[in-house]
């Protein structure tokens, strides 16, 4: 067990897989000499060379498409999109092609490609660089979408993604790269898709989150614990497949559910969860499922405005308290 950053966990997973499988290669902007815009690929270009760690021009549509073509011929490209905001120029390749090819080919060809992309906000990167768009991809059949919240999951799920025979959108988070945690030394360690995790047990309220918001959720749980409120935090880990069994089990126990996410709530990830929880836990809920997300505006630059827009602990805590208040607790 080693204590590493989320960034280092990703780097190790890439190193492991590049080492164990010749068909794996990395592709993206500035991932070589520059070591990646967020340094996730540091050292890999030196170690594996320019063929296995291929730097690209600013042509996301072109190189995601190239990743698809290479994958169709049996390679396992791991494409880095500098931030998820830029994937919008390559949306057609992801949605109209990567997601549909195996089905259109009746299973005779697949697209074992991973697209790594950090999302999220909080560093004053403003409107065009602060989005969380994973819900859109999670709604597309043929794709798998995962969003690990810890270094261990980042390590284990990236390895799972690279070994998976289907296209996977692997959502990272800019703020999370420096979060530390322990990861197992076992290079064969992987974390399966479609298995949510109870990150903290509790009996009063189920707080569902993914990616960096899980960290916020845990801090909110700490605070509320000081008032004797026991929050169960469920880390979704994957959005498609979605592990509703774990979520439902928790809500059946707590009878209350709050979903927090960094994206916009309306038509967001929380909408699907609220819809399903309300349905499967119809007779268990003491109060309506509550949601918290980013303010529904393009992210502004000024720090006070950005803070006002983000789903900070304070906002999540307030939602939790008002939900519990509705139920006569606190």
């Amino acid at each position: 067990m080693a204590d590493v950053t989320y960034r280092e966990a990703l780097r190790r997973a890439l190193d492991d897989e590049l080492g164990r499988d010749e068909s794996v290669f990395l592709m993206g902007e500035e991932i070589g000499k520059f070591e990646g815009s967020y340094k996730v690929t540091a050292g890999l270009w030196e170690k594996y060379g320019a063929r296995r760690v291929r730097e690209t021009p600013i042509s996301e549509e072109g190189f995601i498409g190239a990743g698809i073509g290479a994958a169709m011929l049996g390679l396992r490209p791991v494409v880095e999109i500098m931030t998820i905001n830029f994937i919008l120029v390559a949306m057609d390749q992801v949605i109209n092609h990567a997601a549909k090819i195996r089905y259109m080919f009746g299973g005779t060809v697949g697209v074992p490609m991973v697209i790594r992309a950090p999302g999220g906000a909080g560093a004053q990167l403003t409107a065009q660089h602060s989005q969380s768009l994973e819900a859109w991809f999670a709604g597309c059949p043929g794709l798998k979408v995962v969003a690990p919240a810890t270094p261990a999951d980042a390590y284990g799920m990236l390895k799972t993604a690279i070994r998976d025979d289907d296209p996977v959108l692997f959502c990272e988070n800019l703020i999370m790269y420096n979060v530390t945690g322990t990861i197992p030394d076992d290079p064969e360690f992987t974390v399966p898709f479609g298995r949510a995790q109870v990150a903290r047990e509790g009996s009063d309220l189920t707080l569902v989150a993914h990616s960096y918001t899980v960290q916020r959720a845990l801090r909110v749980a700490d605070r509320l614990a000081q008032d004797g409120i026991l929050v169960e935090v469920v880390d979704l880990r994957s959005l498609r497949p979605l592990d509703m069994d774990t979520v439902a089990e928790s809500v059946r126990k707590t009878n209350r559910a709050l979903i927090a996410e960094e994206g916009w709530s309306t038509y967001g990830v929380g909408a699907e969860l609220a819809a399903r929880i309300s349905r499967v836990c119809f007779d268990d809920l003491d109060a309506p499922v509550e949601r918290v997300g980013s303010a529904e505006v393009p992210m502004p630059y000024a720090k006070p405005l950005e803070l006002a827009a983000l789903p900070l602990e304070s906002k999540i805590e307030a939602a939790a308290r008002s939900l519990l208040a509705e139920c006569g607790i606190v």
Binding site: G65, L73, N96, P241
Partner: protein, 364 residues
């Protein structure tokens, strides 16, 4: 459009270009097969046996057959949605192509693709594609895979003149050039994208000249001259295989029919224009040439036409007799990873009606 054939190969007048009887007959037969197949397809469409969009390639047979005949085992092919002839040219059974149009399980894409999405993975034909320009980056990725794994093969990527205006064209050609990939981009210029002329859609209507923007070799050939197309594409594919140099070749041709069966094709071009192209018909022209050279006799040409007519008739009969995909195959092959079923196993709770009410287990 005034066509100046900068590099027109003079294969049909130049004895230097050797041609044996077998090859001559093969090329003639493939073009005749496509012509006949498309004519019957048009008729089958009017009989409502085919649905969706349906794009015919009548008139473009030489651009398709000449280029595809230049492929060697291991090479890969990507094409646009105007792809019935493409499948026939790679050797997919006419019955399987027709079955695809009829939406039958025996179709080349198991009835899932229809007219726009023919494919034949065994023959390395990786699909007819429906988003204009989008398959260029994908074909470039196939070339990247060949290069990455050091296979001595190349990719042929065919697309229409309309695709040249897309960002995908630009990104794909630039990537292929900076990475020295083994790929030949063939723009099948039939002078129009739907009702839009090349002059309207491309600031540089001599499309082959676009190659220069990527320091890439470009050339234009008479796309109604099956030998000229074959000569150019073979040469460029060889270069791609051996020197890892990409190229752009423009083959000028014409579609007699409208953009699709839904378009009469008369609103944006004159009868005179269409007639003038019929005079350069690629099949008639090649027929005269091979007969005159004594490579294929007039009688034999007759036989060829009878053979393909029979083949297409048989294809229709088989396609009609074949069965449609079973309703319960709807979710098959959505995901291919062996773990997918267990990955999706816990996604049932609270799932929307359709995904649960019909009792589907989660798609794989």
């Amino acid at each position: 459009m005034t066509i100046r054939f900068r590099h027109m190969a003079k294969a049909d007048t130049d004895p230097a270009v050797s041609l044996d009887a077998t090859t001559a007959r093969r090329l003639l037969k493939q073009m005749a097969l496509i012509r006949r197949f498309e004519e019957r397809t048009e008729e089958q469409y009017t009989r409502a046996r085919i649905g969706g969009y349906c794009h015919l390639a009548i008139g473009e047979e030489a651009s398709s057959v000449g280029a595809i005949d230049a492929l060697q085992p291991g090479d890969c092919l990507f094409a646009s949605y105007r792809d019935h002839g493409t499948a026939l040219a790679v050797g997919s059974p006419a019955s399987a192509v027709m079955a695809e149009l009829f939406g039958k399980v025996t179709g080349v894409a198991h009835g899932r693709g229809g007219s726009m999405h023919m494919l034949d993975v065994e023959r390395r034909f990786f699909g007819g594609w429906g988003i204009v320009g989008a398959h260029l980056p994908i074909a470039t990725g196939a070339a990247l895979a060949l290069e990455h794994t050091r296979q001595p093969n190349a990719v042929l990527c065919q697309f229409g003149d309309g695709a040249v205006a897309t960002g995908s064209f630009h990104e794909a050609l630039n990537l292929a050039a900076v990475w020295n990939l083994p790929i030949v981009f063939q723009v099948i210029n039939n002078l129009y994208g739907m009702g839009t002329s090349v002059e309207q859609s491309s600031a540089e209507p001599e499309l082959w000249r676009r190659a220069a923007a990527y320091r890439m070799h470009g050339e234009r050939v008479d796309g109604n001259d099956v030998l000229a197309v074959r000569e150019a594409v073979s040469r460029l594919l060889d270069q791609a295989r051996s020197e890892r140099r990409p190229a752009l070749v423009e083959t000028i041709t014409y579609r007699y029919r409208g953009h699709s069966v839904a378009d009469a094709g008369k609103a944006y071009r004159t009868k005179e224009e269409i007639d003038s192209w019929r005079e350069r018909d690629p099949i008639t022209r090649f027929g005269l040439f091979v007969a005159e050279r004594g490579l294929v006799s007039h009688d034999e040409i007759e036989t060829v036409w009878q053979e393909v007519a029979a083949e297409v008739k048989d294809a229709i009969d088989r396609a009609l007799a074949a069965s449609a995909p079973a309703r319960d195959s709807l979710y098959e092959h959505l995901y291919g990873d062996p773990h997918s079923p267990e990955q999706f196993g816990r996604m049932q709770a609270g799932a929307p009606f359709g995904e649960r009410g019909e009792g589907h287990s989660w798609p794989t």
